[in-house]
Structure formats: structure tokens, C-alpha cells
């Protein structure tokens, strides 16, 4: 009799647990590399609209640069908290490597952390984000690999430069995209910033076209500077000895991000520790 009671209790307990499990659909996963995305999608397009609307006609603004937050969830959380504490940040650029393994869950978890930012943000494609089905997931959650947006009178051009991931099957960097951006450059833009994940002369970049790339991006009106990630440490390098500085954003493990302020005449930056 005692056994029977225990068993009945146990059965009830099982039913309860089972119901709890079934109600938590987030725990259902068909494969780590499936593209069945839960939650927020198409973030770049939506946030670009927010940034452009908010910043229209402004000539001075501040933005933070994050990069290489892959599998550093604790640090990324802290970075978001640190950025949220700064009052005058207008938006955030993430220079890529959101995931470490290219797995869908990583993109979702990083997205959920970045969505805690009080200001809109955009994400670039990193080389780790290209692994397996990573780019398919990236394009659904964030958007295009090459994109651009306008902040006040500054044009931001964001490019996929992870050529090693593609075996020449794909145009990286996409000079066609760059040409179109030059041709259809908005009239009211006076200055340009180029953002990418892998910098020229890194292992990922198509270094045979590094100088052509440099030439192409100088066709944009008043190129201020370039932003990149990938190599995990802070650096400011003039790769082509022509005055165009590539500011390399540290990875989340370094607990640093970059803070840029662009005003009418000039720009300033600082490396912020958190």
C-alpha cells in the first residue's frame, strides 16, 4: 500500500514536471545549426531607421564600438551595463564575431544581451559568424552582410571583409557594393566612416586587393577613419601610410570598448574600461 502511494505521488510529480517542460518551448531545439530563430529578428534594418530618425540634422554625436563578444556572455553583459550608464551615447556599432561556433543559440543569446542596450545598435558579420549556417542565422536576426546608414551628415559603410571564409565563391569585400554606395552617396552627407570586422593584412582579408580596397574607400567623401575588430586588442594603425587610421576594437574579454564623438570639425575617441 505504501508502495502504491509513493508511486501515485511520483506519477503526479512526473506529470507536473512534464507539463513544465512542455510549456517551455525555448528548450526545443532541432539542431544547433538549424535556422529556427526564436524572438527578435531583422534588427539592423529596424535600428538603422531608429538611428537615422533620431540623429537627423545633428552634427555632433557619440557612439560606442563593441567587437568580438563571442562566448564572453558575462563580459558582454557588463559592457551593455557600462554603455547604458553613459548618458550621451547615441548608438552602438558591433564589429562582428557575435558567435564563437556559428550556432544559432549563440546569436540568440548575444542578441538578447545586446537588446538590453538603451540605444539602438547594429551588428557586422564576423568570421566566426560565417561558420556552418551562421551567416543564414545572422542574416535573419541582424540583416545584410554589407549595409550603410546615415547619422546626421556622416555616412557609415559597414562591410563584410572575411574573405577567407568564402573560397572566392562570394565577393569579399564587395567592390560592387562599394561602387553603388559611392554612386548613390546621399547628397547631405559630408563625411564617411568605414566599419569592418577583419582589417586589411589580417589572415581573413583578401590581401591581394588591400590597396585596391584602400583606393576604393578613398573615393568616399571625406573619409574620417575606419573601424575594425577581429584581432582582439586595441590598436590604431595607419595601414597604408595615408593618414587613414584603422581603430581596432578590443574583444569583450579585454573588458574595453571604444567611444567615439564626431563633431562638426573633428572627432575624438577614448578606450573605455569596464
Amino acid at each position: 500500500m505504501q508502495a502504491q502511494n509513493t508511486i501515485d505521488m511520483k506519477l503526479n510529480y512526473f506529470t507536473l514536471i512534464l507539463c513544465a517542460f512542455l510549456s517551455s518551448c525555448d528548450m526545443i531545439e532541432y539542431h544547433p545549426y538549424d535556422t529556427d530563430i526564436k524572438g527578435d529578428k531583422n534588427i539592423n534594418e529596424r535600428n538603422i531607421k531608429l538611428i537615422e530618425d533620431k540623429m537627423a540634422n545633428k552634427t555632433e554625436f557619440t557612439f560606442a564600438v563593441l567587437s568580438d563578444t563571442q562566448r564572453w556572455y558575462d563580459e558582454t553583459n557588463d559592457a551593455v551595463d557600462a554603455i547604458n550608464k553613459i548618458d550621451d551615447v547615441d548608438f552602438v556599432i558591433h564589429c562582428g564575431d557575435i558567435s564563437d561556433f556559428g550556432a544559432k543559440l549563440e546569436f540568440e543569446q548575444q542578441r538578447d544581451i545586446l537588446n538590453r542596450l538603451k540605444v539602438p545598435y547594429v551588428c557586422l558579420l564576423g568570421n566566426h559568424d560565417c561558420l556552418a549556417t551562421g551567416q543564414a542565422v545572422f542574416s535573419r536576426i541582424f540583416g545584410e552582410e554589407n549595409f550603410s546608414f546615415t547619422v546626421g551628415n556622416v555616412r557609415f559603410i559597414c562591410l563584410n571583409t572575411n574573405a577567407l571564409e568564402y573560397d572566392y565563391s562570394h565577393m569579399v569585400p564587395d567592390f560592387g557594393f562599394i561602387e553603388d554606395e559611392i554612386t548613390f552617396y546621399p547628397e547631405d552627407c559630408k563625411k564617411t566612416v568605414i566599419a569592418m570586422h577583419s582589417p586589411p593584412y589580417s589572415d581573413q582579408f583578401n590581401n591581394n586587393v588591400a590597396k585596391l580596397f584602400d583606393y576604393s574607400i578613398h573615393q568616399f567623401k571625406n573619409l574620417l577613419f575606419c573601424l575594425n575588430g577581429h584581432l582582439h586588442t586595441f590598436k590604431a594603425v595607419d595601414f597604408f601610410s595615408n593618414g587613414t587610421i584603422y581603430y581596432q576594437c578590443p574583444c569583450a574579454d579585454k573588458r574595453q570598448f571604444l567611444l567615439f564623438t564626431i563633431n562638426e570639425e573633428n572627432y575624438e575617441y577614448e578606450v573605455v574600461e569596464y
Binding site: 505504501q2 508502495a3 509513493t6 508511486i7 511520483k10 510529480y13 512526473f14 514536471i17 512534464l18 517542460f21 517551455s24 528548450m27 526545443i28 531545439e29 532541432y30 539542431h31 544547433p32 545549426y33 538549424d34 535556422t35 529556427d36 562566448r71 564572453w72 556572455y73 558575462d74 553583459n77 564563437d100 561556433f101 556559428g102 550556432a103 543559440l105 549563440e106 543569446q109 566566426h128 561558420l131 556552418a132 549556417t133 543564414a136 577567407l164 573560397d167 589572415d203
Partner: protein, 223 residues
């Protein structure tokens, strides 16, 4: 969240322990009703040993949207089970249609016959490794990368799981038993992520799957 999971685990453990001791105690008194494991009587002869003993259907669990498998049970009480699964990812959940091949090993230490035709397996545990179709995935890094560039395989996934099952033994001779099972599992990539981040909880990396197991071949009766 962490505490909650721990509590559930501890509670389940206590439940099993209590139940097992009760079953052991009852065993000597009424062996027909509270038999420890009926399946010791299930015996296969000769070439029948290599015939698949069960077929399975599993939903999710990193093995595809649905996967279908054949399994072999062995060991004194059929405590060991080896499965081969083929799963698929339809284009609704994947960039392309994909097939996933899984080799799975399950250990089922106890079968609690709570009723003559019903048993509970309070613990299933095991490992499985799977591979996914498509040239986007590689087992070893292609030669274009510098040595040890990514240091993992996108094609092979190693998974561990814990689960439970509920089995019904019908009176008909058509099939031996049918079980419903569920599993909580995770893979090595998620374990590495959890181990290096305090902010990741067990709920963030544990994945639920469930399925049906049909034991198809009726064994000879050793009368």
C-alpha cells in the same frame, strides 16, 4: 534558476531512492507483482540477437525536427541500448533540407514494474554523436585555415542526456512494449559556453526532446 534545477534533481533522486528500496523490499514477498525486471525473461536465440529490437521516433534533441531509429537492446536486463537514427531538418527550420545521422548509446539501470502491464524507467542516461549533411560543415578544418584556427568540428556534435520513460506492455502479441520517453540534454559546445560564463544558466543550455519507442520483436518464451 540554478537552485531550482538543483532542487528538482535532488527531489527526483530522493524519489528514486525511496521507490527502489520499497520495490526491493516487496520483491521477496510477492515476486509476481513486484518483479524487479521482467525483461530478464526475454531471450533471443541465434541470429535473432542481431535483429533490431526496437524502433524509435524522436522529436528535437539536436537530432533533427523528427528522427527515426532502430535500436538493439542487450545486457542481462536489456539495460544497454544502441540506436541508429536518421533525422531531418525541413526547410521551414533550416536554410536547406538537411539529414542528421545519430549514433546513440543509452543506459537504463532500472525498470520499475508499478503495474503488471506498466513500468517506469526512472533514469535513462547516455551519449550520442551526430553528423549533419551539407558541405558547409566540416569534421576537420579545411586546409585554407592556419593550423588550429577554430579548433572544433562544425559537423560532429557530441551530446549527453538524462531522461525518463514510461512503458506499456500490451496483452496482444503484435508488439512487446511501447514507451514514451523524454530527455534533457546538451552538447559539448553549450557545455563549454556554460563552463566559461556565470551568467549562463542550466536552462539556457539544456534542451528537451521526447519520443516513442516500440519494441517490435517478441522473443521466444523460455517455458
Amino acid at each position: 534558476m540554478n537552485m531550482k534545477w538543483l532542487n528538482i534533481k535532488v527531489l527526483l533522486l530522493v524519489c528514486f531512492a525511496a521507490l527502489s528500496s520499497v520495490v526491493y523490499a516487496e520483491d521477496t514477498d510477492s515476486i509476481e507483482v513486484w518483479r524487479w525486471d521482467k525483461r530478464t525473461d526475454w531471450h533471443y536465440d541465434g541470429w535473432e540477437r542481431i535483429k533490431p529490437k526496437n524502433i524509435k521516433m524522436q522529436y528535437a534533441g539536436g537530432m533533427g525536427f523528427m528522427s527515426f531509429g532502430v535500436g538493439w537492446e542487450y545486457g542481462k536486463t536489456g539495460q544497454w541500448n544502441t540506436d541508429n537514427f536518421i533525422g531531418f531538418l525541413p526547410t521551414a527550420y533550416s536554410d536547406k533540407f538537411r539529414l542528421i545521422f545519430t549514433l546513440k548509446q543509452t543506459y537504463t539501470p532500472w525498470h520499475l514494474h508499478v503495474k503488471p502491464q506498466f513500468s517506469i524507467e526512472p533514469l535513462l542516461c547516455g551519449l550520442y554523436v551526430n553528423t549533419i549533411s551539407g558541405e558547409e560543415f566540416w569534421e576537420k578544418e579545411p586546409g585554407k585555415y592556419p593550423n588550429s584556427y577554430y579548433n572544433f568540428s562544425t559537423k560532429l556534435r557530441f551530446n549527453v542526456f538524462l531522461g525518463q520513460s514510461f512503458t506499456y506492455y500490451p496483452k496482444s502479441n503484435r508488439y512487446r512494449a511501447v514507451s514514451f520517453f523524454y530527455e534533457l540534454g546538451t552538447n559539448e559546445l553549450y557545455i563549454v559556453s556554460k563552463a566559461t560564463n556565470k551568467s549562463l544558466k542550466w536552462g539556457d543550455i539544456l534542451r528537451l526532446s521526447f519520443g516513442l519507442k516500440l519494441q517490435i520483436f517478441y522473443p521466444h518464451n523460455k517455458d
